[in-house]
């Protein structure tokens, strides 16, 4: 039977060795199989720390973390890193190989995948991110967005069950961001995989099934994107913004134009507006 929770944090606290403050203070949450969860929060609220705890790059001083009901420890850690893939913020500083194909191969080599399987997995995963034409390109000839897509391909090749994107689009232009988000969507259509996106981009949050809001090392709120953005004023109090569409509909509300349900996307808002009279 598939476990109910893919990853479970129970009362996890973490402190960096050279720091006095706790980066995480008793954090509990879970991620279900096949779920897309967004984590938001102000700078230094502990988002990256959570990501690094999820695949054992850090280990907590207190509390437990289970991946598929197995605790992360010295015996399970390599298995966990195979199942939990991670894409970081800087496109350059995670590109290990001298060419695209070498970079995708790097993860496979680490996990001891036999040579015969590599080629198949590499072409499959490069195709999934639309980079199959660039196999022999060197990193300095690729754009930031292309490098990030290669990073996703490198993670995909290992056939992970969870992909963490830690501000993976932060250094990209809007076009690059879109291409990454579309890539993740496509990947999720093809296979069962959970996704955790850590982001400051509110439009990315809308893609998620669930949002975890972090504040000063605590889980501040958990809910659907709609539920989160309804807490407009409280979010601003902890230094977070809401998307343009939510803000607009709030202002409309103040002007006495009350919309039926809170729209989240441009399309929702448009539909609400042009049907405003007929539904009244």
């Amino acid at each position: 039977m598939e476990p109910r929770h893919y990853i479970e944090f129970q009362d996890v606290s973490f402190q960096y060795p050279n720091s006095e403050d706790w980066a995480l203070k008793g954090v509990s949450f879970h991620i279900k199989p096949n779920e897309w969860v967004a984590i938001i929060g102000h700078n230094g609220s502990g988002k990256s720390t959570i990501a690094k705890l999820m695949n054992g790059l850090l280990s907590p001083q207190q509390g437990t973390i289970h991946v598929q009901e197995l605790p992360i420890n010295q015996e399970t850690i390599w298995d966990v890193r195979k199942k939990v893939g991670m894409v970081f913020q800087n496109p350059d500083n995670q590109f290990v190989g001298t060419t695209v194909i070498d970079d995708v191969a790097f993860g496979l080599e680490n996990h001891g995948i036999p040579r015969e399987d590599m080629q198949k997995r590499i072409s499959y995963s490069l195709k999934a991110v639309n980079m199959e034409e660039y196999v022999n390109h060197e990193p300095h000839n690729l754009s930031g967005g292309q490098k990030q897509r290669v990073a996703i391909a490198s993670v995909l090749a290992v056939e992970p069950e969870l992909i963490i994107l830690d501000e993976a689009t932060a250094m990209l232009d809007p076009k690059g961001r879109n291409s990454i988000m579309n890539t993740v969507h496509q990947v999720r259509q093809d296979r069962d995989v959970s996704v955790v996106t850590i982001t400051h981009d509110l439009n990315e949050v809308l893609f998620a099934d669930r949002v975890i809001v972090m504040n000063e090392g605590n889980v501040w709120f958990e809910g659907t994107p709609r539920e989160v953005f309804q807490k407009h004023d409280e979010l601003q109090a902890i230094g977070l913004d809401t998307p343009f569409v939510t803000q607009l509909s709030r202002h409309l509300n103040k002007l006495g134009i009350s919309l039926h349900k809170e729209p989240l996307t441009h399309k929702d808002l448009m539909d609400e507006l042009w049907t405003l009279h007929s539904t009244r």
């Binding site: 690094k52 695949n55 790059l57 390599w78 890193r81 195979k82 893939g85 991670m86 970081f88 800087n90 350059d92 500083n93 995670q94 590109f95 290990v96 190989g97 001298t98 060419t99 194909i101 070498d102 191969a105 790097f106 993860g107 496979l108 080599e109 680490n110 996990h111 001891g112 995948i113 036999p114 040579r115 590599m118 060197e138 990193p139 300095h140 490198s154 993670v155 290992v158």
Partner: protein
Amino acid sequence: MSNSVIIGQYVPGHSPIHRLDPRMKIAIIFIFVIVIFLANNWVSYSILTAFALLSTISTRIAPSFILKGLKPVWFLIIFTFILHLVVTKEGDVLISVLNFDIYSGAIWKGLEISLRFFLLILMTSLLTLTTTPISITDAIESLFHPLNKIRFPVHELALMMSISLRFIPTLMQETDKISKAQASRGVDFRTGPIKERIKAVVPLLVPLFVSAFKRAEELAMAMEARGYNGGEGRTKFRELKLKKADLFVLIFFILVLIGFWISRS
């Protein structure tokens, strides 16, 4: 970046030399370099020169390109020749210029040393001209593999080389960016007394080092996240396999060596 120096610059191609197993190339060049110092008459030198020229032609890279790329080395070759003319005092006096005697032995010696030097540089540059740096790295890892037994960190060294290769262009781009940023703030790298210019490099190097260390830290983290755990239990994607052509070249080289040995006096 200077384009005139070709030592260490790969020229893409499909010549027989390009396709040769990099380990074979390294081994042949290594032996060749030793053998150059064993040549002792004009026949043995001719054999080696012929082999070197044949190799050069087989790369299908324009000889003019190769020679032009060796420009900085020409100076050294000519310098060595002149040095020998001045220093060596063997054989008969050929000509005497301004109280200065030039001996016949000096010319022979000078030519010999210059030729050795030339062949040595030519052959080693053929390696880098026809082999990608990453293939050279693979070859070194493979050739040094036996040293693993005495706990020599072969894999780590090869990985270090390949990561350096991967980051050279990135750091070059970054240097360019920083130097432009500093130039726009009035830092002058190109003119003025040497002391000032050296001082001007400091604001270039400091940010470069800071960023390089940051990169190294993030890269280490990313590598660990992707399951890197040292060389043990790792498989290898790139595989070097000796082909028939490699064996033919090896046999040919051995024949050349035998001919060379016989011709030595």
